[in-house]
């Protein structure tokens, strides 16, 4: 296995992860799936960071009683990834707690409905009527219609 294949596989893995993450955010309307998407995206980015200085067969840069290993891996990205993962965790925790609050407030996790309700709320407390274009037919799925009656009643 010459060095090229490993790199190709690893890099494509990193980009694959990132693309799946982005796809998750873009396509799905469900809140929790979006948060999963962010997590995957973070993982992909961290993997990319790690791969930036990856060398085949390099060992950890620890000098055991005076003997310097032949090929040492660069420790800096390792440290960076640590902090990046910590930050990622922080954000995801906050996102989940917010999702719970939104679900309790709006009774739904569908991003389109949340956006519609948010728009209604802003218009009410600003005292202006709903902008006409927001009733676009996009929100026509069955459950949203049910939610409409429920919130309308």
């Amino acid at each position: 296995m010459d060095i090229l294949d490993i790199n190709i596989i690893l890099y494509s893995a990193a980009f694959g992860l990132m693309l799946i993450g982005i796809g998750g955010i873009v396509i799905s309307n469900h809140l929790i799936r979006i948060i999963f998407g962010i997590a995957l995206l973070e993982a992909g980015a961290n993997l990319l960071l790690l791969l930036s200085t990856y060398h085949e067969g390099a060992s950890a840069p620890i000098i055991v009683d005076g003997s310097v290993p032949a090929m040492m891996a660069d420790p800096v990205p390792q440290a960076l990834v640590l902090t990046a993962i910590v930050i990622g965790v922080g954000i995801l925790a906050l996102a989940l707690s917010l999702a719970i609050r939104v679900q309790r407030a709006y009774g739904t996790l569908d991003m389109r409905e949340v956006r519609l309700k948010l728009e209604q709320e802003i218009s009410e407390n600003a005292g202006i009527e709903m902008p006409s274009s927001s009733h676009a037919p996009a929100v026509t799925t069955a459950n949203s219609a049910a939610a409409q009656q429920e919130s309308g009643s």
Binding site: I22, I25, V26, R115, P131, S133
Partner: protein
Amino acid sequence: MTALDTLLLISAITVGVALLAGNWRVGGWLVTILYALQGAALLMMSGLGYSTLTVVQSSFSIEVLSEQLLWRFDALSWFFALITIGAGLFSSWFASGEWGERYRDNGGSLRLFHGALALNVFTMLVLLASGDLLTLFIGWELVSWASFLIMALAGGKAFGYAMRYISYAFAGAMALLGGLLLIYAEVGSFDFQSLKEAAPQMQASTLWLLVVLLTSGFGVKMAILPFHLWQAKAYAQTPGPGAAFLGAISSRMGLFAFIVVVVQLIGISRLVEMEIPFTFLDAQDLLAWIAVFTIIIPTYIALRQHDARRLLAWHGVGQTGYMLLGIVIANDLGSAGGLMHVFNYASYQAMLFMVVVAVIHRTGTSDLNKLGGLFTRMPLSYLAMLIGIIGLAGLPPMNGFVSKWLIYRSLIVDGSPLLFLGAVIGTLGTILSVYKLIHNIFLGQLRVEHVAVREAPLSMVIPMMALAVIVFVTGYFPGLVLDWTSAVQASIGIPVLAHHLGGVSMKGGLDMIWIVSVLLIGFGFGTLVFFLGGRSRRVHQLDNYAGGHFLTAETRYHYSDNFYPGLMHLIGPWYRNSFEWLERGVISAVDTLSTAMQGLYRNAHPSYLLLAAVVFALSWVIV
């Protein structure tokens, strides 16, 4: 402390005094005296008007962003400053009398009015004194915001019109800023002189862009054709003498800037070389035709108005066409005619507006269909309006005739019959609508409710009469004004008009002293012939023959509505106000665009955009 500094200083003090003392009883008179002081300071520089002095520098100049901003007066700015301060003096004199008390009684804040008027005069003087393109723009912005302030004073409907004005004015100012900075990019500095030298070498494409930007920027303020919709309504709604001031001078600032930049720096000769492809027109012809249409269309719109102030305001738009036509035909007759028309028009437009305001002051309405027969009650106002309309129509004894004659004579010399025809159609339209104005207000049957009307108060009549005297005297001796215009022509670099006190000395010239005196002698003979007959007996207005039907007291037959049925029957269908439709089109385009953008921010899934950006970035790496 040059003369220019004293002038600007007094003007600034006037603003302060007006804002502080406006509401006092004596406040109005104090401000009027200060205007007179400004006039005196201006006369100290009168050397400019008689081309003994060329430029008066101001000692105040700031250096910002590596640009030296300086202010100076030359013959052109002196001429315009004379009209501005004159108009300001008469308007504030008019406002400080009885009109002021009534304005204050029904809620208007006199302090704000005098302050706004003084601010207008001050900003106009700053604009007139601009020494380079950047100060020109700064002055320009200040003037447009000051006139916005005075237009928005009346509140209610005036807000809407002032709002419309400021959208036009600011869009024009942005076009102007684009043009000026384009010059800066081409020429490298804001100074007038460097543009003057660089203009001949500029290649046609940038010059075309430049001329279009500058003309549309100035055109918005001058209210020439495509941008004329805002002016009539906005001036008509400005409170009382404010309308007289704005009508007299405010939109001439556009003409001033046009003369400074396009005529003086770029030069009309350069305009002539700019051919419009596929047509035999060039830039100068284009401007001339815009001017001619600006004469015709607003005048015939004025013909249909039934509110006196709006009729006069629409004439304001029309008469600007004459000035532009005169200036654009850059031979000595035309430019002298254009410049003199600025002075003439300011004098009788201010007077006419004052008469209409006096009529409103007495009868409470300016609607031509609710007035009539006021001649017997307000003879002096009638006299002022008579002199005013003769001037506006451009008939011999008054100064309006001289400037129109100059423009016509220059068209004959220039040999362009169609422009001549357009200008004459405009004049005839003016005569018709001007007669409608005086007939509906002062002649015909006096209405029952106006029987108790008294003559306008003294504080209103005196400025009117003073203006009437000015109109007649400059008509009798046009040389007075022609001296100033020839000084301006010399400073701009256009051929100077050979003139004497009576008028123009050339083959087929004009000598107003003889013509007016012959007219007066003719009137003398006319009275002699008239008094050959017996003594005439005055009869009551109801005692007249109406085809067997007797006019009774309660149903007064005063013919005023749909005054020219024959004409209207023929040209009625031509009024399709296509410009309002154009304006509504632009507004709805911007409206749909902004709804689209709001939709983008609200529910379009943002991530599609992100996806596109990211796929783009990542693919670069793999490729």
